[in-house]
């Protein structure tokens, strides 16, 4: 830390256990070793690779979907009167067993170019940016 100086032994331990993941310039973090090129990047459920007995399947970026699901920005009629409640939003467009919300924007009305830079999801999913209700 640059602005706080650990003085006693407990402070040194606090500093040690709260150490953020090291950046690529400092070498790979012990937890992320599968792909050196992605060191320090978000790899989420892929971390550590797949068990060897399973064939390498198609890459499905966790939390991303190319399917339009209404509920967040517009309801099924195109209006805003019947927006999904939080619990429902949590259940739409989940990545397999992960229930973390993975909402996609309304690509018909509000964000038609959302995936314009994402020609191949396996390769370009990082280019899919966040959008905010206008």
């Amino acid at each position: 830390m640059k602005h706080l100086n650990a003085i006693n032994r407990k402070a040194a331990r606090v500093e040690e256990v709260t150490q953020p993941a090291r950046s690529s310039a400092e070498g790979p973090s012990p937890a992320v070793t599968a792909d050196p090129a992605s060191t320090g990047d978000v790899v989420a459920l892929q971390q550590g690779g797949q068990p060897p007995q399973q064939p390498e399947g198609p890459h499905i970026p966790p939390g991303c979907s190319i399917v339009f699901s209404p509920g967040w920005e517009a309801d099924r009629t195109g209006g805003t009167a019947g927006l999904c409640q939080p619990v429902e939003r949590d259940l739409f467009d989940c990545h397999m067993g992960c229930y973390w919300p993975a909402q996609v924007p309304d690509q018909l009305n509000h964000a038609p170019d959302w995936t314009a830079k994402c020609a191949a999801a396996q390769k370009d999913w990082r280019k899919i940016d966040l959008v905010f209700p206008g």
């Binding site: 830390m1 640059k2 602005h3 706080l4 100086n5 650990a6 003085i7 006693n8 032994r9 407990k10 402070a11 331990r13 606090v14 500093e15 709260t18 953020p20 966040l130 905010f132």
Partner: protein, 512 residues
């Protein structure tokens, strides 16, 4: 969910955050995020500003930017954008965000929303016994008015009760077996009383037995005792020196102070008798440092005078002071004004300690040394002391109790030396006495080091071991603050001095 912040969006707030893309690590991103101070106590030493974190007990030095953030948030919670703008004349926004991230890491700041209370964590496994205090007698040849064992505040009827006046040789051996069984690699045995040396024959045989038993089973054993020095005859002194037994002498100071309370049954003061014996002990017993333990009362609060006499004139290696444990209505009880006076005296002596330590000289004020050690290690206590955990007391009949001050008390019994520790009772005790149950302590920054204070003090004052000692809260906070300042001075000006405290915990764990 709060919105992530990009450079462009930061414009929406008060300031533009140049070069900051990731936000403040750990905090919900956004210039509108409201942050507040976490729980910690600040102090200054050697021109620097420090924070004592609560409840972690970590000590950090703040740089100028961190100090400015802490000062600004001291006026109340505010948004990150607002804070950054306020500090911008002095610190770049990216510097402020960087510092906020570090402050957040150590919990010096938090988001304004309420945080969840910390869980009550009880020890999952049985903790080995570290110290067993063996009351070899409850008899005493002095009649100190303030005595917790014989005075008006006594817990156990030591004169007409069921307890034998002297521990038998057999019970003492059983206590040693118990200590060796329950301890880790090394058993620490402290002989206590009453006046410990009134049962010297049993004590002497017990030491021999204990050494032999420890050698048989391959464990270490260490002895210490506390005495009023009246029975320190030459053969006793020889024995203590040869057996390397740690000795603490209960003495209150120079003659006029000692003779106020530490008197014989006929009212005669004990100074004339004990002073030459103590000098003989200090001259002969060089194998362990010998300390004086002083009881302070309303009438005897001249800490400097007492220290000068016991350390400089008599030659004690160290001197420790403890305010008398008593009900508030007693004549010797220290009142609020007395505690203020005591604190000012402690502060003067602590400065003396600091000066000596900066110059690399030994200083014998043990209260400050012990507190510095705890600060250095960063002990964050759930319990005020080891009583009932790593320390137990044994009464003359072999009953095991919370500590030596409760020896013989049925209510505070934890089993016996033959039957072992009543683990269910111990677990119940640890549950009810956890710091999280002391509501008054939850807003106090000194709780990692105090944890509510002495069980016996609380019992004497309030009739229960479960509550905190509210009568000396101000004193504890004042004294801890002083020790933190001294710690900070030493950390900046003579950090090598603090290295002596590095191994304290390591040594303790090796004993287990």
């Amino acid at each position: 969910m709060r919105e992530p912040v990009s450079d462009e969006r930061a414009d929406h707030g008060v300031t533009k955050i140049a070069g900051v893309e990731a936000g403040v690590p750990g905090i919900s991103p956004g210039v509108d995020t409201v942050v507040r101070l976490g729980e910690f106590h600040t102090f200054e030493a050697a021109g620097e500003r420090f924070g004592y974190m609560v409840p972690s007990a970590a000590v950090f030095a703040f740089d100028a930017c961190a100090s400015a953030i802490v000062a600004a948030l001291g006026e109340g919670p505010r948004t990150i954008g607002d804070l950054t703008a306020a500090l911008e004349p002095r610190f770049r926004p990216d510097e402020v965000w960087d510092t906020l991230g570090e402050l957040y890491r150590v919990r010096a700041i938090a988001e304004a929303r309420a945080s969840a209370p910390l869980p009550t964590i009880l020890p999952l496994t049985v903790i080995p016994l570290q110290t067993l205090v063996v009351n070899v007698t409850n008899q005493c040849n002095l009649a100190c008015e303030y005595c917790y064992e014989y005075g008006e505040d006594k817990i156990v009827d030591t004169e007409n009760g069921q307890q034998p006046k002297f521990m038998s040789e057999e019970t003492a051996r059983e206590a040693i077996d118990f200590a060796l069984r329950e301890s880790g690699k090394t058993a620490m045995v402290t002989f206590f009383g009453g006046e410990t040396l009134m049962n010297f024959p049993v004590l002497k045989k017990t030491v021999a037995y204990a050494r032999a038993r420890a050698a048989e089973i391959g464990k270490g054993i260490d002895f210490s005792l506390t005495t009023n020095a009246t029975l320190l005859k030459p053969d006793v002194i020889d024995f203590l020196a040869e057996e390397r037994i740690g000795v603490t002498i209960s003495i209150d100071g120079p003659q006029e102070i000692q003779d106020k309370f530490r008197v014989f049954n006929n009212g005669k003061g004990s100074y004339d008798l004990v002073a030459p014996k103590i000098k003989a002990l200090l001259a002969r017993h060089k194998s362990r440092p010998i300390g004086a333990r002083v009881t302070l009362t309303r009438q005897t609060l001249d800490v400097m005078k007492i220290y000068r006499h016991l350390h400089d004139e008599m030659g004690f290696w160290e001197v420790g002071f403890a305010p008398v444990t008593t009900a508030p209505q007693r004549g010797h009880a220290i009142g609020d004004a007395g505690f203020d006076h005591l604190l000012s005296q402690f502060r003067i002596l602590a400065q003396d300690f600091l000066q000596a330590s900066l110059e690399g000289r030994h200083h014998g004020f043990s209260n400050v040394r012990e507190t510095l050690q705890e600060i250095h290690q960063g002990h964050a206590k759930a319990y005020p002391c080891g009583a009932g955990i790593g320390l137990l007391g044994v009464a003359t009949d072999g009953n095991v109790s919370l500590c030596h001050r409760f020896a013989g008390s049925e209510t505070h019994s934890f089993g016996s030396v033959t039957g072992g520790v009543d683990r269910a009772k111990q677990a119940a005790f640890l549950d009810t006495h956890h710091i999280n149950h002391k509501t008054d302590c939850q807003s106090c920054w000194a709780r990692p080091i105090c944890a509510g204070g002495c069980y016996h003090e609380a019992h004497t004052r309030y009739g229960s071991t479960t509550g905190p000692n509210l009568h000396y809260c101000e004193w504890i906070r004042g004294w801890t603050h002083t020790c933190l300042e001294i710690y900070g001075e030493l950390a900046v000006k003579n950090p090598g001095f603090l290295r002596q405290f590095d191994g304290a915990d390591d040594e303790a764990s090796q004993r287990h």
